[in-house]
Amino acid sequence: MMSKVQIEIKGVQNSLMVVLGEGKWQDAENSLIERVNSQSGFFKGAKIVVDVGNRELSAFELGALRDHLADLEVTLGTVISTVERTKENARRFGLATRIPSSQSNLKKITPLSTEFEGEAAVMIHRTMRSGFRIAHPGHVTVIGDVNPGAEIIAGGNIVIWGRLRGLVHAGADGNYDSTVCALDMNPTQLRIADKIAVPPKRKKGEKVRPEIAMIINEQVVAETWNYKK
């Protein structure tokens, strides 16, 4: 004759925890299976935690419980017990013996920093139109044109993969080693650190080449980009 064992169900850390009350293991297991079966809609697909209390359970008994639950499409994830032997057997089945604490998990994973010191950069993948302004302590890369009336202020270098027509200020913190490169360099004004340069008006039909601007002998100089160098 089977006697009922009290079953308590609660939600713990995003999973369902089943606490089995006093009684023989066989009765407790049957009661649990019966309960899961009668509420299969609720349990189906769940991963549950079972608290077996102070019972000493063999590997065979735990394996049977896992299989019965699996038949009902419920995964046994964790077995909680006060008995060391039970815990050991559970671990041999690859079952957890503690409720996973989401908080402690989070603490362990700290994102790796991919930034080198002072080398932060932003990339803008669009045309910078008049009135658009960006100020960044690191480098600035633009894929697109920088139109007249747009402004870029960077602590580091500025790279424009497109036409430069607006105002750029590289090394705004006073870094003389900063450079500005553009595929087509014809800015309204170009500043590096505290030097200001206004490029000469372009002659008609002048060939456009990628250029790089830097400070040489206290002067802003732009030269044609020579990849062989």
Binding site: T127, R129, S130, G131, F132, D145, N147, P148, G149, R165, K204
Partner: protein
């Protein structure tokens, strides 16, 4: 019927927004569509003047928004075209009399009964611009081939992109083709090169436009003129038709044809 709302804007003043709004609205209506034009320039209205409907204004946009009249009462019907209406702006108020939300609501009330709602946006980037932009489905930017107008157009296009109303379409107005040929004026290619948006029309600098605006007869009504054809082509492109560009700058004689051939071969 669900109307599409087109806002005509420019940033800079005096480039021909109102002329374009009047003529594009009329050109759309001439194709048989139901069109309503809204003058968004509260305090400095003139779409009514250009359309020659000034003397028929009783109620205006602000009266509608503030509930002093029904929407239909403020809509002036242009008798020259079957389904062409104007909602004039108030002259005695300013831009703050209407909010962007009011404009969205107004356009939503108009949508079921029309094919097109054309909004004439005021110059500038302040409240009036935001009012006109809020309900827009399509934005048309008008500019002239001069640096200051192109600069402002660039700024406006950036703002339109920021409002996620883009991509805007471009009309280049007041082009003097002789000056372009001499290299004294920006060409359509130069402007498109900088602004990088779709060009839907190039309009020549034509005295006829000023004359007809003063008379209150949109130039598009004069079907023989080239500029009227240009406006009707723009209307076609707004409707999504493939319309080839007019050769406004080319002479239709042997010399012009030869010139085209030589230029074509040079380009390759």
């Amino acid at each position: 019927m669900t109307a599409e709302v087109i806002t005509i804007t420019s940033g800079k003043g005096g480039v021909g927004k109102t002329t374009c709004a009047a003529n594009i609205g009329a050109a759309l209506a001439l194709t048989g569509d139901k069109v309503v034009c809204i003058d968004g320039d509260i305090g400095l209205r003139n779409l009514d003047v250009v359309l020659g409907l000034e003397n028929r204004i009783v109620y205006d946009l602000v009266d509608v928004v503030e509930g002093r009249c029904r929407l239909r009462q403020a809509m002036i019907k242009d008798k020259r075209i079957p389904e062409f209406y104007l909602i004039p702006a108030a002259q005695t108020r300013d831009k703050t009399a209407v909010s962007p939300n009011d404009m969205v609501e107004l356009c939503d009330r108009l949508r079921p009964d029309f094919d097109w709602v054309v909004i004439d946006c005021p110059a500038g980037i302040e409240r009036g611009f935001r009012n006109a932009m809020a309900p827009a489905d399509q934005v048309v930017v008008v500019t002239n081939p001069e640096i200051s107008a192109v600069r402002d157009a660039d700024r406006i296009i950036g703002l339109i992109e920021a409002e996620e109303k883009g991509p805007a379409k471009l009309i280049l107005n007041r082009v003097n083709f002789d000056m372009v040929k001499r290299g004294d004026m920006l060409s359509g290619d130069d402007v498109v090169d900088l602004l990088a948006i779709e060009l839907i029309g190039v309009l020549p600098d034509d005295e006829q436009v000023l004359v007809s605006s003063n008379q209150g007869i949109p130039v598009v009504f004069n079907e023989k003129s080239k500029i009227s054809k240009a406006f009707r082509n723009i209307a076609g492109r707004i409707k999504g038709e493939e319309v080839p560009f007019l050769n406004l700058e080319e002479r239709n004689d042997l010399l012009g044809a030869l010139g085209r051939i030589f230029r074509g071969s040079n380009a390759k």
